[in-house]
């Protein structure tokens, strides 16, 4: 089963693992990645109050579905689920979930990392930070491009 969802609401990692594994006995490894809104502090000392995630409806689903298809051509996956939230998040909230299932652990790990690396650089989402004394768009990171680039 391969699923992509873009949603405002919370997700439940356990329910998504269960949905992928239910009734199957050919899965040897399930890897999950959960990305959370982190309570970081800017160099100037301004504490994060919230992140608002804006997205490009339609393209977000299509682009992530293309990444999942690409992962399936590279690794023998028995299933994958990607959920990305939009809207306003406070520190501690879930933002993104990637679940990959395979008969072997290396495929599950590599596919999850691949999906996260490319999600960061290709999925049309933008984070607006609200800090105690400021608000500003999060700049894309060179390290994300580098991480994605290693998949060649």
């Amino acid at each position: 089963m391969f699923t992509v969802r873009i949603q405002a609401g919370q997700f439940d990692a356990a329910a998504e693992i269960a949905a992928l594994a239910q009734g199957r006995t050919d899965i040897g490894a399930v890897v999950t990645f959960t990305g959370l809104c982190r309570d970081d502090i800017a160099p100037g000392g301004a504490r994060l109050v919230a992140l608002t995630l804006e997205h490009y409806p339609g393209m977000a689903e299509e682009e992530i579905a293309r990444l999942v298809e690409e992962a399936r051509t590279r690794w023998p996956l028995t299933g994958a689920t990607v959920i990305h939230r939009f809207g306003r998040m406070i520190p501690g909230d879930n933002i993104v979930l990637v679940v990959t299932a395979s008969s072997h652990r290396t495929a599950a790990f590599e596919a999850a990392e691949f999906l996260m690396d490319w999600l960061k650089t290709r999925a049309p989402f933008w984070k607006l930070e609200e800090r105690e004394a400021a608000r500003s768009w999060v700049a894309a990171k060179d390290t994300d491009d580098t991480a994605a680039g290693r998949w060649g």
């Binding site: 490009y56 999600l119 960061k120 049309p124 989402f125 607006l128 768009w137 894309a140 994300d144």
Partner: protein, 83 residues
């Protein structure tokens, strides 16, 4: 042609979307960005550094030299920060 703007590109231009009918000389994504940049102060600000503005044609990532072809929906936005 429908043009969509996201994140700080949207904020600077002050619009989420608009219909635009560029002249025939506008052939690529970079041509369209240069054309839009002339439409006013907000546009000039949004496209002041075209190399940091990304684009999609009909919901697929495009490069500055990608021909617009028959695209019906073009989007401009900053580098993505999802995940």
């Amino acid at each position: 042609m429908k043009i969509l703007y996201f994140a700080w590109v949207r904020e600077r231009i002050g619009l989420e979307a608009e219909e635009v009918d560029p002249p025939a000389s506008v052939r690529t994504v970079a041509d369209l960005a240069a054309f839009l940049k002339e439409r006013g102060e907000g546009y000039a600000h949004a496209f002041e550094n075209p190399s940091v503005v990304r684009a999609a044609l009909d919901r697929t990532h495009a490069r500055p030299d990608t021909p617009l072809g028959a695209a019906r929906e073009v989007a401009f936005f900053p580098p993505m920060t999802g995940g």
